[in-house]
C-alpha cells in the first residue's frame, strides 16, 4: 500500500501521522489537490473518533480504574494518541500538536499549583464531559486548530492553564509579572530580535489584572481584575495599531482590559508574526533539510495577513505550494517521536495493542505530551536523535512488532507472501514506508531473513521473521524521517 514515494503518502505523513490502510484507500482515489481540500475541510467529517475508544477493532487503552481522560493525565495522553491513530480528521490532530508545541504548556506546574485532577482538566478536559464544562487548553486548540490565530492568541491569554504556566495569575499593578509578556512576543508572535527589553516591561503592565478567579463551582477561570490593572500609557518599539501607533493610551481601570486586547490584535497583525509563523510552518510541514525560500515565507505571510489571520487558507496554501510537492521535500523532516510512534502503529497494526504502551517509550524518545521541556516547546530536528532516544525508537519498534507478531505473520501468509524470504521482505518494505534505502541496507535485511537457517515458510519462522524484520525496518534511520 505504502509505496514510499507516493504523493499521497507524503501528504498523509505531513498533514497527518501517516496513513492507515483505509486512509491510503480513501485519499488514494483523489488527486493531490482534492486530497488537500479533503484534509483541510475536515469540518465536513464527523468528529466522532472518541466514541470508538473501547470498541473492538481499535487500539485499546489501559488505566488504573475507569479510563478518565479528563482528570488523569496519562489517560489524556492515551486519548490523544488514540485520536492521532484513528481520527478521520488527521490534519486537526496534526495542527493541534503544532499549537501545543507553539504555546507549549506543561501539566506538572499546573497540577502542582492545583491538583493532578485539576491540572489534567485545565490541560485536557473536554467541555462536554466535564462536570463544570471546563474546556482544557488542548481542547481549545483542537477546536481552533485551523481557526483564526488572533482568536487562538486571545484564548491562550485567558486560558487557565496558561495563566498558571506563565504566572499571569499573579500579574498585578504593584508588581507586574514579565513571564507571559516576554513569551507572547518571543515565542508566540514576533520572535527574538523583534522586541526589546522595555517592550517586555511594558507588555507586563498591559496584562496587569489578567488574573484568575475561582468561580462558584470551584473552577479557576480567567478574570479581569480592574483594581489590579496599571492604567498609564504603554509604549512599544513596534506598531500596536493599524495606523502605526506604538502607544496604548492611558485608560481607566474599568476599561483597562482593552489594553491587552489591543496588544494581542497588534501582535496578531504584526508582519513579523506572519513571517515567524510561516517559518515554523515550513519546518513542520515542508522541510527541515533546507531553509525556507524568502519568497515562500513572504507568500505564506501575505496569505495570513490577507485572510485576517485565518489559518485554514494559510495551511491550504502551504500544502498546495510547489515547494511542498518538490521531490526534495519528500522525507525531508525528522519525525517527532509521536509522529514516529503513530505512523508505526498505523503501518504495523494495532489489534490488541494498548495506547498505554506508547507512553514510556515516548518519554524515552524525549516527547511526553502535555509536558514539553519548556515554553519554547520541543527542540525538534536532529535533537531528537540522541543515542538513548534512538534506542528507545528501536525498542518501541521491537515492542510493537512483538505484540503484533501473530497478526503480522497471518496477514503476510494470507497475502501469499510466505513463499520466499524475498517476497516477505518486499511485502513488509511496502507496508512500512521509509525514505529510499541504499542497496547495501536492503542486502543486510535479506541476509537477516536467512541468518538463522534457510527459508521454510513454517508458522514459527513466519512469526519470528516477520516480527524481526518489522523491528529492523521501523528501527532504520530511514524510517525516522517523514
Amino acid at each position: 500500500m505504502a509505496s514510499s514515494n507516493s504523493a499521497i503518502g507524503h501528504l498523509l505523513r505531513r498533514a497527518g501521522f501517516g496513513g492507515r490502510p483505509d486512509e491510503y484507500g480513501y485519499y488514494g482515489q483523489m488527486s493531490t489537490s482534492q486530497a488537500v481540500d479533503a484534509l483541510v475541510n475536515y469540518d465536513s467529517v464527523a468528529d466522532d473518533v472518541d466514541a470508538n475508544i473501547g470498541k473492538p477493532g481499535f487500539l485499546t487503552t489501559t488505566s488504573n480504574g475507569a479510563f478518565s481522560p479528563n482528570t488523569v493525565v496519562n489517560d489524556a495522553r492515551q486519548r490523544w494518541v488514540f485520536r492521532m491513530v484513528h481520527s478521520n480528521r488527521p490534519l486537526q490532530e496534526k495542527m493541534t500538536l503544532f499549537w501545543h508545541n507553539h504555546f507549549a504548556t506543561g501539566y506538572q506546574k499546573i497540577a502542582g499549583a492545583t491538583s493532578a485532577a485539576d491540572g489534567t482538566r485545565y490541560m485536557a478536559a473536554k467541555s462536554s464531559e466535564d462536570t463544570n464544562h471546563v474546556r482544557g487548553q488542548i481542547e481549545m486548540l483542537r477546536d481552533n486548530a485551523l481557526g483564526n490565530f488572533r482568536d487562538i492568541l486571545m484564548n491562550i491569554a485567558k486560558d487557565t492553564a496558561m495563566l498558571y504556566w506563565l504566572d499571569g495569575r499573579t500579574n498585578t499593578k504593584a508588581k507586574p509579572q514579565e513571564n507571559f509578556a516576554r513569551e507572547i512576543m518571543e515565542l508566540f508572535t514576533v520572535g527574538v530580535g523583534n522586541y526589546t527589553e522595555p517592550d517586555v516591561y511594558a507588555g507586563a503592565r498591559v496584562f496587569t489584572g489578567w488574573n484568575l478567579a475561582r468561580s462558584s463551582d470551584g473552577v479557576q477561570q480567567y478574570a479581569y481584575v480592574a483594581a489590579q490593572h496599571e492604567t498609564t500609557a504603554k509604549t512599544f518599539s513596534f506598531a500596536v495599531y493599524g495606523d502605526g501607533g506604538k502607544t496604548i493610551p492611558a485608560r481607566s481601570a474599568a476599561d483597562g482590559m482593552r489594553d491587552g486586547e489591543d496588544f494581542i490584535n497588534g501582535l496578531a497583525g504584526n508582519p513579523m508574526t506572519a513571517r515567524y509563523l510561516a517559518g515554523k510552518l515550513w519546518k513542520y510541514f515542508v522541510s527541515e533539510f533546507r531553509s525556507a525560500p524568502q519568497a515562500w515565507i513572504t507568500r505564506i505571510a501575505n496569505t495570513y495577513l490577507a485572510n485576517q489571520y485565518e489559518m485554514k487558507p494559510v495551511i491550504r496554501e502551504v500544502l498546495l505550494s510547489s515547494e511542498f510537492w518538490d521531490p526534495s521535500s519528500y522525507w525531508a523532516r525528522y519525525a517527532w517521536p509521536v509522529e514516529f510512534v503513530v505512523r508505526a502503529i498505523k503501518e504495523v497494526g494495532w489489534n490488541g495493542f494498548s495506547t498505554n504502551n506508547t507512553l514510556t517509550p515516548l518519554s524515552n524518545m524525549g516527547q511526553v505530551l502535555f509536558e514539553p521541556p519548556d515554553v519554547a516547546g520541543w527542540d525538534a530536528g536532529q535533537t531528537w536523535f540522541a543515542t538513548g532516544a534512538m534506542l528507545a525508537r528501536m525498542n518501541f519498534a521491537s515492542t510493537l512488532a512483538g505484540n503484533q507478531k501473530f497478526n503480522l505473520a497471518t496477514t503476510a501468509k494470507n497475502a501469499g507472501q510466505g513463499k520466499s524470504a524475498a517476497s516477505m521482505q518486499a511485502y513488509f518494505l511496502d507496508q512500512l514506508s521509509t525514505a529510499p534505502l541504499d542497496s547495501s541496507v536492503t542486502a543486510e535485511l535479506s541476509s537477516y531473513m536467512t541468518a538463522t537457517g534457510a527459508w521454510t515458510g513454517s508458522d514459527a519462522q513466519m512469526q519470528a521473521k516477520s516480527s524481526g524484520l518489522v523491528h529492523l525496518i521501523a528501527g532504520l534511520p530511514e524510517y525516522q524521517l517523514c
Binding site: 507586574p176 516576554r182 524525549g366 523491528h471 524521517l481
Partner: protein
Amino acid sequence: MKITRRTFVKSGVAAFTVTFAAPEFLSDLARAQGSTKRNLIVLNLSGGNDSLSMLIPYNDSNYYSRRPTIGVPAGQVLQIGSDSSNVALGLHPRLTGLKQIYDAGRLALIQRTGYDNQSRSHFLGTDIWSTGDPNGSGLGWVGRYLDSLASPVDPLIGWNTTGSLPHVLQSNKVAVPAIPNAAQYSFNSPNTGTEATAERNSAVRISSHIPVNRPELAFVYDSSQAAMATLDRVATVAAYSPSTTYPNTGFGQAMRAVAGAMAKGIGTKVFYVTTGGFDTHSAQNPNATNGAYYNLMATLNDGLLAFYNDVKNQGLFEDTLILSFSEFGRRISENGSGGTDHGAASVMIAMGGRVSGGLYGTAPNLNTDPKNPTLENSAGDVHFETDFRSVYAQVIDNWLGANSAAILGANYKKSGLGFI
C-alpha cells in the same frame, strides 16, 4: 545544522566503514583517549538561578529592603567569610554539604559571571552560555573541545545524562550519547535466543552504513551507530554499586551514573547534567522547608554531597571537576508574586579535587542608585564582572589541557581566576 557524519566522511576516515568490529575498536580507543582520567562535569542549573538566594550578602541592608519576603535571614545563612571587597557572604541554609566541601577547600564560587548586554531569554541565554558565542550560534564549547581531539573520537568520550543532546555538547566529530537511564539503554528484540542475536547483529551491521550524499540521514545513522557501539559499556555502568546512597531525584540519579561511569573506567571524559526548576517567577520561598527554592537547594546539595563522598571513597575526586552555569541570574528586587523575574549576572560553582576553593570575584552592591557600577538596568539587575568565557578558558587550559583561545575564538584568560 550540526552534521557529524558528513564532516567525518569528508575528512576521509575510513575506519568506520568496515566495521562490524567497531564496538571493540572503540573500546580500545576509549581507553587510550581516557588515559588521563580527568573528567569535566558540566552542570546546568536550568531556568535562571537566583544566586542571591544561594550566596547571600547578609550584611547588605539593601538585600533585605529589596527582598522583604524572600530575603534569607542573616541568622540562617551558612557564613563562609568575606570576598576581596569585604562583603560578608553566606550559603543558603540548606547547602550544608556544599559548606562542608567549601570548608575542605574544594569548592569555588565565582561571583558576578555573565557577559555584556546579557540576554534575559531562557533559550537565547542558554545558547550563549552553551556556545560562548554572543549570538548563541555554532557548536557547543565542550563540543568544540571534543572536536580538538585526534580523530576518530569514541562516542562515549561524552555522556549526556538528559534525553536529548544539549547545545554544550554539540560537536562536529562525535554524537555524544544521551543516556538518561543506563538500565534502559539496551537493545530489545521481539524474539529470543539465536533469532534475537541475529537481529542485533543485523542492526549493528546496518548502523555502520554510511549513506553517501545524504548528510541529514547520515546524522541518524551516526546516532544509531553510536548507540550500538556503546551498549555494552553502558551496561557495566548500570551494574554500578555506589559507596554512598544517592537521593532519588533526577539530579541525584544522574550524578550516580556519572560516578558509575568514572568508576567503571569506560573512557568518558565529559559529562552533562542538568537540574531544573530555577525559573522562580512566583512563590520562590527560599526560607520555608519544602519551599520552591529551598527544595532546589536541597536537590542540588544532596546530589552533590552524595557524589562528593562517593568519588572520594573511590579515589576519583582528584580527577573530577564540576562546573555549573545558569542562563541568567534574577532580578534583585522581588516581584509581587513572591518570586523574581529574569536578570543578568550570576554565580558559577566549581567543585573538584584539585579546585582551589574560595570566593572569586566580588559581590554586587545592591544599593538602588542607577549609577551603581555593580548593577545594570537602572540598578535592577547584577552587572557582570567576569566574562563567563574567562571561566571556560581557565577550565580548557588548566584542566582539559587544550587551547582555550583556539576553542573560544579569542583569548579570554583573566588573572585572579586560579580556581583550577
